[in-house]
Amino acid sequence: MTRKQKRLSVIVAGLAFLAAAAGLTFYALGQKASYFYMPAELATAGVPPGQRIRLGGLVENGTVVRGSGATVAFSVTDTQKSVKVTYTGILPDLFREGQGVITEGAFGPDGVFVADSVLAKHDERYMPKEVADGLKAKGVWVESKSQ
């Protein structure tokens, strides 16, 4: 092979490799990325049970129930709709009623959202960005006093 052919074959092999990687990447983006929803958006979104999503909103006042062991049930609300969530594990230090949270998990067949992670950031001024944007869009955002 001449130098040019050699270079060409290397480039073709490299591009084929890149194409394979790109294909895999796009497949994975379609399958493995989890979308973010607020409770009111769920009605129109039609999320099937078992599909991983992130659900964000405020922990509704008076809904936190500590069950047996480390299981906790609470509702996440965007002030229009609310969704029941159960979570087994350790809640973040800043988890409390009225606080913005993001939960990740999937709906069970009974319509209860089973979360395997709950995020509330380590800062008293913090509201997860997605939740803040969502609340602002709904016009129920209240600037917190400490900001």
Binding site: A21, A28, L29, A70, I90, D93
Partner: protein
Amino acid sequence: MVETGHFALVLAFALSLVQMLVPLVGARTGNQRLMAVGGPVTITGFALTALSFTALASAYAGSDFSVANVWENSHSLQPMIYKITGTWGNHEGSMLLWVLILTFFGALVAVFGNNLPATLKANVLAVQGMIGAAFFLFILTTSNPFIRLNPAPVEGRDLNPVLQDLGLAIHPPLLYLGYVGFSVCFSFSVAALIEGRIDASWARWVRPWTLVAWMFLTGGIAMGSYWAYYELGWGGFWFWDPVENASFMPWLAGTALLHSAIVMEKRSALKIWTLLLAILTFSLSLLGTFLVRSGVLTSVHAFATDPARGVFILCILTLFIGGSLALFALRASSLTAGGLFHPISREGALVLNNLFLTTATATVLVGTLYPLALEALTGGKISVGAPFFDLTFGPLMLPLLAIVPFGPLLAWKRGDVIAASQRLMAAFALALAAMLVTGLFMDGASVFAALGVGLAVWLVAGALTDLAVKSGAGSVAPAVMLRRFAGLPRSVFGTALAHLGLGLTLLGIVGTLCFGTERILTMRPGETVELSGHTLRFEGLFPQKGPNFTEDRARFLLIGADGNANGEISSAKRFFQARQMATTESGIRTLGLSQLYLSLGDEGNDGSVVVRLWWKPLVTLIWGGALVMMAGAAMSLADRRLRVGAPARRRKPAAALTSPT
């Protein structure tokens, strides 16, 4: 002192403008005197930045709350160590640390670069000056840490409790030494493009700088990972969080650069590619700085969000990445092509390494930026996490790791895979045995676990095989072999150590992910819990008082087989008054290479507490492996041929003799 620091920073900015213009003009016109300006100006710029940084640090140490930045991020009751580390525990201070390290590297080039061709040195310093000027301007206009408050508050608002940890003293400086260290490689590349030629000294210089930056970045990432592991209380060591990816991308690209620089130095091939990689690596460092500092991502790292900052860094990003790539497009074709090699050769193996690493970098880049792009374009919010990276990054890493041991055993120019395979027979047998033992005899081992353990053993044994083969094992007497072993170039040890460290890290990851166990339960004082053969007894909650916090410390005793206590683990819930904020301090006990990890949840009214307990087998190897990789890089740096500043004039003829063919 604070005003002195502010003034020094302005002066440093002014000097960086001189540094970027005068040597450049000198190199262009061939004016020796103008070129010579570069060195002293760079060193003075560093001294001024250091003065400025010291001024801020002393304001922190003395709790001078008349400085807004100190007021926002410090408290008079904090222990001294956190007062000082708090200097860079905020946006403004951490940017100041960034430029301090940038000017430090510039000064290193100025001091040790006496044997560089004068025009190359002048251009390199000029490019460093450009980067410096951009970031000085950024700090002075959008992130000034020296702004005063009048009247001065009596008490500060405290440092974010999560940052009140020794990790803050180590992680950011190491990470920045890595991030910013790549700026030198970038400056060398841009300087070569400005000159339109790459000579032998270019390659000899870029390699050690890459090694230095890579070594620190490895340490910075490992330290960040360990910090997140013990501080966040989730027991995870890597979350594929965009902020982590931001530091991981330059590491991947830097690893590729490290390997292609070898080909370039030894065989003077892959010149243009190496140059492009050097540009891309630092571009990814800049992108990382943008992602972390602009506030587009919400994380512990995004201290404050200010749109002006994001836009400013985005401009810097566009200017430097766009400018350097445009220069590359204009000039690359005029650079001479390198030597030829057979696809099956050390060069070929290193090209394959580069192909895998750069593609892996690209998948991480897509996974990190896609959610941002999607939100900007459609408003849709998605999160890309572990499942995505398992499917894209994983399949790229597995074959790469499998071929690692072959690389060092192949000859330059034309290698023999069969001969290399024969030499690796023992390592392969060992890996296969480890795989079978794991798969057949370990409880709950999956195919992946067996494969992972096999691959890790393969990497470790392969690295040792390389050392054995190069010291003549099997063909010479043991005494001769020992002598040869001692006489091996340090860079050979460096390669072997780095690859061995990679194997250890992999072993740690597989051990933790595949054989780790976990329990969540509510415990009352006096109750015991058993996990993977370890018994823990909950002693109760004990209130304590720290300097600027109160805590409830839960004590657990580790009960041995004989029923006696042989160790304690304690975990605490801390409450910081100044910020009205609670944190959880996890309890960790290292047993051999493994760890018992414990985190506290809610407390009940009856003294009970929710406990999450993990058994993490071999978890320390994850970071231990990174330390071994760092040791490998240090070893390689100590190689006579590579020592920074080593390419002295008298050695040049010898180097010239070995490089051609």
